[in-house]
């Protein structure tokens, strides 16, 4: 991961996920039209766009929640026919939504294994292998460099960034090859967002393909290998890091001209305001 800046946008590596000219409409609303993107192992693909740009719709296609109305969705080069997020999860595509599906009053280790508890014994004596669960959680968190004081503490006592980190570690542990994060940093302060970005980098370094949805180019630019820009459901292009500067990204994202217009409107003494 030293040569991020030299990466070519087309990507020499074979794609884990690939979307070709995908479109999605809801009734009369065109949520997504003719969008293409690829996700490769060990790379972070950032999806950027304003509210309503279609970011969530795109990742719902990736995570198996929606099927695209037009275009193709390939997983490992083969067309995917997911009927539910469970199908996608079984193929190693894990999606972390904003609420993270964690229970605040339950301990870190209980949350970590919720729904996939390791068990011991047989018949009526089958039990939750608590010792192993705690051990695994401690090891997983440590190996990702996550500093949680105590795996027995309730998840509710963790900060927002720590929660995101635990959720990332959980996805990695359960064999995710692709990690999809919907605005993981939007509710976080600068420091906490930095923590989460660091764990995204960790997951990337372990060889996962990461899809990082955000509307903050300052979070996206330092970590992204490629950038997909969406505007009103259409793609403004997919750029490799070498092809775009942070300033260009920011102005594209904000819709350059619109921002200037806004600045003009908001300036003091504007009679039209």
């Amino acid at each position: 991961m030293t040569a991020i800046d030299e990466k070519t946008p087309a990507g020499a590596a074979s794609a884990l996920l690939e979307v070709r000219a995908a479109g999605k409409t809801f009734g009369g609303v065109i949520a997504l039209r003719d969008v293409s993107m690829r996700v490769c192992a060990g790379e972070v693909t950032c999806v950027l766009g304003d509210n309503g740009a279609g970011k969530s719709t795109l990742i719902k296609i990736l995570s198996g929640m929606h099927a695209p109305d037009s275009g193709e969705y390939l997983v490992d080069g083969v067309p995917a026919a997911f009927t539910s997020p469970r199908d996608a999860l079984d193929r190693g595509i894990a999606t972390l939504y904003q609420d993270l599906a964690m229970i605040p009053l339950m301990s870190v280790w209980r949350n970590f294994f919720l729904g996939s508890e390791p068990r011991l014994g047989w018949g009526p004596f089958r039990r939750f292998d608590v010792a192993r669960a705690k051990h695994v959680v401690r090891e997983e968190l440590r190996s990702m460099g996550i500093d949680i004081r105590d795996v027995d503490q309730p998840v509710g006592t963790l900060s927002g960034g720590e929660r995101q980190s635990v959720a990332i570690a959980r996805a990695v542990h359960f064999g995710a090859r692709v990690l999809i994060l919907d605005e993981p940093t939007s509710a976080l302060g600068v420091k906490q967002a930095g923590v989460v970005l660091r764990y995204i980098a960790q997951a990337r370094d372990r060889g996962l393909g990461v899809v990082f949805i955000t509307h903050n180019p300052h979070h996206a630019y330092p970590i992204g290998d490629r950038f997909l820009l969406l505007n009103r459901g259409a793609s403004l292009g997919e750029y490799g890091k070498a092809d775009i500067t942070r300033e260009e990204l920011t102005s594209l994202m904000a819709g350059g001209a619109e921002l200037e217009q806004l600045a003009h409107e908001l300036s003091r003494g504007d009679p039209a305001g």
Binding site: M102, P104, L105, G115, R119, R127, R149, P154, T157
Partner: protein, 342 residues
């Protein structure tokens, strides 16, 4: 890791103790015992202990089951009246239709499971608050208990269980006594301890226990990671019904008769014991041992007030004060546990 370990030492012990759900009940039980023991020599004698453990045991079995249900995020107001329903079914079948006690108990168990299942099914399917759904079942059962008993006997009780086949064995197993140090202790105390131990094991050491905490803590989040929330909740309602059947059978065998209004009003006592034991009204948090201790506090106060020579009317005041204190302590714990740190 040295940094992490250092922080662990500083905050770990205090926090771990504070967030134990049964902490309040332990402190409360010790305080109440100390208080009545200082007031009355009988209270602290072995006969006294056997005496106040008696009401604690049957209440405790129900409180533990209700605690599991409350941790799972639901209430059951029909649990009290169901102890009456199961007892009535058993006595009616054994005395009026000549069934052996065991067969009568089996029928009562099947009916209890069915009622628990229906309670659970309505709650998970309609997503109505279980408070309302089981209030409905409570009223219906109350009506059925009275109506059927009156129609069959012309009175408001059924009796004569003593003559039923298998009565002696069933009584020895569920409602007998065992001498300990020259004092007779109710065998129901053993059932209560067994139920508490089993519930604790399930809650803390099994996958089902993890699911119970999860569906009570955040139903949607639990579903999202694949927890079968509906099945878990229905199973909890059925567990409560089985506990009601056990207590109903114990009571019927002990008194050989059942009043048509038996168990009514008890449903809130179960909830109070569970809350004193650390269960949150909002679900997702609590303990079986805590609920069992809540029942001990109840038993001690119930008998202690009499031993101390006071008017028994004070019991309700005492109960209310305990409940308020426990709820305040629980709220503190919840805030502490849910507070987001930066």
């Amino acid at each position: 890791m040295t940094v992490a370990d250092e922080r662990l030492v500083r905050t770990g012990v205090a926090r771990r103790l504070l967030i134990r759900p049964e902490l309040g009940a332990v402190v409360g039980a010790v305080a109440v015992f100390g208080f009545f023991a200082s007031q009355s020599a009988t209270f602290r004698s072995i006969e006294g202990v056997a005496n106040w453990l008696d009401p604690a045991s049957t209440l405790g079995i129900m409180a533990v089951a209700i605690a599991l249900l409350m941790i799972g995020g639901e209430f059951d107001l029909s649990a009290g009246v169901l102890t009456g329903t199961t007892g009535l079914i058993m006595v009616i079948l054994a005395t009026r239709y000549g069934l052996p006690i065991w067969a009568a108990m089996l029928v009562a168990l099947v009916v209890a499971l069915l009622i628990g299942f229906v309670n659970g099914l309505i709650v998970v399917r309609t997503k109505l608050p279980s408070f309302i759904v089981t209030l409905g079942t409570f009223l219906m059962l109350q009506g059925v208990n009275l109506g059927v008993t009156k129609a069959l006997t012309g009175t408001v009780q059924v009796s004569g269980l003593r003559k039923a086949e298998g009565y002696e064995e069933a009584r020895a197993l569920l409602a007998g006594t065992i001498p300990v140090g020259g004092t007779d202790f109710r065998v129901a105390i053993l059932w209560w301890i067994g139920v508490t131990a089993l519930a604790t094991w399930v809650l803390t050491r099994t996958r089902a226990g993890n699911w119970i905490f999860a569906v009570g803590g955040d139903d949607q989040a639990a579903r999202a990671v694949g927890v079968p929330a509906e099945r878990t909740k229905i199973a909890l309602f059925m567990t409560t019904a089985v506990a009601a059947w056990l207590v109903g059978s114990i009571m019927a065998l002990r008194f050989t008769s059942v009043q048509a209004n038996s168990g009514i009003g008890q449903e809130f006592i179960y909830i109070i014991a569970a809350v004193i034991g650390g269960c949150l009204l909002t679900g997702g948090y609590g303990s079986a041992i805590g609920a069992a201790l809540g029942a001990v506090i109840f038993g001690m106060a119930d008998k202690g007030i009499v031993f101390a020579g006071w008017d028994a009317d004070w019991f309700k005041f005492f109960l209310g004060a305990m409940l308020l204190l426990a709820t305040l302590a629980n709220r503190f714990v919840r805030r502490y546990a849910e507070e987001v740190r930066h």
